[in-house]
Symmetry: C2
Subunit: 364 residues, 2 copies
């Protein structure tokens, strides 16, 4: 892959204000490397049949003026639980199966776009390999919005504060160890593949996570199965918090599910939770599970090795039920140092190639 | 512009669940027309030199474990006040000036993408006309995230509920009249250009607006001026809530400002607020102001005619200071029925052409 500077009009001069900002980051984590001038673009043009965005799901609910946050305007209706999806379709698109990508906790669809150090994301790479790509923002996150009613009711004294949903955000310190950038904050593993020099840029991808505000079951499951059905077949790939969502979406409705890619689910693959009936349903769809490296290094709150072993047991159950499930564990192939954010790692396209090969060989 | 169905793999069969969802919308506003199968794509391919996303601005702040929403993980640092930007650069990009587009209240960068009835958005159209396009999510909205600390402090009983920022959302009923889809909810103007049959799809673009949580001045102003500087010159276009942001960004730092497009600011153009010194600075950059039709129809909380007249007075002041400011008011050109969401209207590309013509003729 050859890169060149992406913009004729962009130069190499940072404003004083930006240099100051970089300096601020440097006091807490390794200085940011990425900026507009560092964005890299492949030399070959990206030729699209189409691109754009739309929503899946959503329901109309009545809200009071206080819930809607404007007492001037009075009560009315708003849409909640919709899922934003942006897409790119390569020229001649449709020869290969569409791929839906879903992000993890406190992140958004941005996870699959340009890396923090300015390299191509998986979204564009999969398109360049012939797949239409659909990037979702989970329901309650980013461009999908969330239901603000209870927050405004708490503010107005109508609801007690303790009923307000918790809003979760990874700190830079915790992300470093849990996402396996290195053993302690600021220190990378010797073979680390995450571009740690751009950790401050990665921090900007972090946004508030309101999943605790969602109804049960999580509306994203049904939105994903509906999307796959509308696309008349798709591979659905989740990551981390959403790692198991492809399985849950297939259990909701497997009509459109051509393949399920489960990457780095922190609590594993429900190997001992799913019933035989559920396993039998999941066994009708090819499944790939992906974990990066350094699983034995313990982080607060997440035991990756336990999750990995649980997924191996899940794979055994699926295959015993005549399914097709595989583990992609790069260290087995001599590829070391991948982090939890493998799609942003320095060898992200190498990992993508392994996933693309699995799709080619297993998804009909 | 010729369209065809955008996906070989997408058919016309809605699942029972989706038909049910459409039925639910129909009870409150006109039934949704848009779905995946209605997405339209021009026959000619979109050829990009590059595309992707990045952040501008942002600052690292310390947060307690409660503020970060996870007492397991302990205190640490997160980034706040960053601005997410996605971009597309046409092949051979850089021949024309880049255009930065910013959205309005309770909306996101989605405003400039695919319309609710599946037509091409302004983002792609401007790219097809040779401009690199940068879509921002305002700081505190969508993929830019927001600072969740105070919400978690209220939940924990550390901060009194009354100090929690209000979260604003337009209801469908209020959007209909304030955005000038028609005189009363559910009834369009006879010459209405907004695709009212897709009003339920438009409702899904509505997301919580946390601008009341922002510091003063709004960090988006500086993020926009920094972005224009990094791009070595850009036209910055705001809409509605952000209508005046291009002016505020230019007053912050006009180094990169090649043109300022002010569209539908609900409280006008600060004609009597800006000092002579501020007007002199703004007079160094070409300015276009855009308003749609039906300004005399009064809506709750917004007097569009007053805003329009204030902007006309602003234009007079700029030109008296030897600047170049113009009003684009389509009814003067015999184009009637445009709504507040002109970039989504049925004649959205006709309006885009007028803006593009202004850029060609006025931005050097």
């Amino acid at each position: 892959m050859h890169y060149n500077s992406h913009l004729r009009s962009v130069g190499y001069c940072l404003s004083a204000a930006l240099l100051l900002a970089v300096g601020t980051f440097a006091t807490t984590i390794t200085a940011a490397a990425q900026d507009v001038q560092n964005l890299q673009t492949p030399k070959g043009a990206l030729v699209l049949q189409g691109q754009g965005s739309f929503f899946v799901g959503g329901e109309t609910v009545a809200q009071t003026a206080i819930e809607a946050g404007n007492t001037t305007f009075g009560p009315g209706h708003v849409t909640v639980n919709q899922m934003y999806v942006e897409y790119m379709i390569p020229q001649g698109g449709g020869h290969k199966v569409p791929v839906v990508m879903v992000h993890g906790a406190t992140l958004s669809g941005k996870s699959w776009e340009t890396t923090p150090d300015g390299r191509m994301g998986w979204d564009e790479y999969f398109v360049r390999q012939g797949h239409a790509v659909y990037l979702a923002d989970q329901v309650s996150r980013a461009r999908s919005g969330f239901n603000q009613a209870i927050f405004n009711n708490v503010r107005a004294g109508i609801t007690a504060p303790g009923f307000q949903p918790n809003i979760f955000r990874f700190t830079d310190e915790i992300a470093w160890t849990i996402f396996r950038f290195g053993p302690t904050f600021g220190t990378p593993y010797s073979d680390e593949q995450f571009p740690v020099e751009a950790a401050a840029e990665f921090s900007k991808q972090g946004i508030p996570d309101l999943n605790s505000s969602l109804p049960v079951p999580n509306p994203t499951y049904k939105a994903l199965s509906n999307l796959a059905t509308k696309l008349k077949g798709a591979v659905v790939m989740g990551h981390s918090q959403s790692g198991r969502y492809p399985l849950e979406a297939a259990l909701t409705d497997s009509t459109g599910m051509k393949g399920l890619i489960v990457t780095e689910p922190p609590s594993g693959c429900n190997a001992t939770v799913y019933t035989d009936q559920q396993i039998a349903k999941l066994a009708t769809v090819p499944i790939l599970v992906l974990f990066g490296d350094h699983l034995v290094d313990q982080a607060i709150g997440t035991n990756w090795l336990t999750a990995f072993n649980n997924c191996k047991a899940f794979i055994t159950r699926i295959n015993a039920a005549h399914g097709n499930a595989q583990m992609l564990y790069p260290p087995d192939l001599g590829i070391h140092g991948n982090s939890h954010m493998f799609m942003l790692d320095k060898n992200n396209l190498q990992i993508a190639d392994l996933v693309l090969k699995w799709i080619d060989e297993n998804v009909k």
